[in-house]
């Protein structure tokens, strides 16, 4: 029971930040600077989630050759830029990681 109550608490604190801005901001006229700020948020959030995943290993920056994800991300960026295809980019990444591991990277 204690575990289930903990889970309910976890759900409530997760739901609030997901739902409240949507309810409070969607029908309000926002000032211009805030709208501009919100327009920059998607690229900023995506980059802030992505770069630590590519540039760090075990909690520290690693730009060396053993950071496989970093080096494989480069052809993925190229494919994404040239094709603008989501599945094409993901497919390229999966194939390259699979091949790299098979070759012992």
């Amino acid at each position: 029971m204690k575990i289930v109550l903990t889970l309910v608490g976890m759900a409530l604190v997760t739901i609030a930040p997901r739902v409240l801005p949507l309810l409070l901001l969607s029908t309000r006229k926002l000032p211009g600077w805030l709208r501009t700020w919100l327009e920059y948020i998607p690229v900023a959030v995506l980059a802030a989630m992505l770069l630590p995943a590519l540039m760090t290993m075990d909690g520290s920056i690693n730009l060396a050759s053993d950071n496989m994800f970093l080096w494989i991300s480069i052809p993925c960026f190229v494919v994404a830029w040239r094709t603008r295809s989501l599945l094409g980019t993901v497919g390229t990444g999966l194939l390259l990681v699979m091949a790299a591991r098979w070759l012992g990277w």
Partner: protein
């Protein structure tokens, strides 16, 4: 622009099928990460039902993986709940960024959408909405398909816990980073987006390696977007 639209979304078909197709990369990632979560949850002492319940009502990848570690360490409930809150507070930004698209939606629909807003569904929706609002059925199909994959992965992992399989064999642990790459690239409209994205990314790395590994996304993204406002007040119009 129509070119981008065509590739990010499905080319044709029923709006629900379109949403399911859009969610495919998320499904690959969620099945595998969910599987890992399920195995760890059982090892931490959660029952099969509790492991699945967390994926149903909390539905937050990194928070769930962290909480499982805390459950295993016998950390008190309040502390687990507070940690979950800190880990998930970044969704404030994502919910706020999408809010302007929901002016016409009913309250219950907004709530239903927000419940299934994750890093990955945010990434899909933010690029898709910016190219024109899709049908509601498509939007919800993306969300429901994604969470279904998360729950399925969790349950599979919880059931097969102990009979470990190595998910890295198929490169699937790279599915979500690769998806973020594609969705970031298609949202870069001009040099201002590049400046904001690079600033946010490098700032996040710096915060992360200096021990701020829960607040880094929220802080880095807010500051970098703020820089964008300071440098170039009106984005367009």
């Amino acid at each position: 622009m129509p070119e981008i639209h065509r590739n990010i979304e499905a080319k044709h078909g029923h709006p629900v099928l379109k949403g399911m197709e859009m969610a495919l990369p998320v499904v690959l990632g969620y099945l595998t990460v969910g599987f890992a979560y399920g195995m760890l949850a059982r090892n931490a002492g959660l029952s099969l039902l509790q492991s699945g319940l967390m994926s149903l009502i909390v539905y937050a990848g990194s928070a769930q993986l962290i909480s499982v570690g805390l459950f295993a360490a016998g950390v008190p409930p309040l502390s687990i709940i507070l940690t979950t809150f800190i880990v998930n507070i970044r969704h404030l930004l994502m919910s706020a960024a999408l809010a302007p698209y929901f002016e016409q939606w009913r309250t219950m629909e907004k709530v239903a959408f927000g419940l299934e807003l994750t890093d990955e569904t945010f990434a899909l929706h933010s690029s898709s909405f910016s190219m024109g609002m899709p049908a509601k059925a498509t939007v919800f199909a993306v969300n429901i398909t994604s969470q279904a994959a998360w729950i399925a992965g969790s349950l599979l992992g919880a059931v097969l816990s102990g009979q470990v399989a190595d998910i890295s064999t198929f490169g699937l642990d790279f599915a979500l980073p690769a998806m973020f790459i594609a969705l970031l690239v298609v949202q870069i409209k001009d040099y201002r987006h590049i400046v904001v994205a690079v600033t946010a990314g490098l700032l996040a790395v710096l915060l992360y390696v200096n021990g701020i590994d829960q607040w880094h996304v929220l802080m880095a993204a807010s500051l970098a977007a703020g820089l964008g406002v300071l440098l170039w007040q009106p984005v367009q119009e």
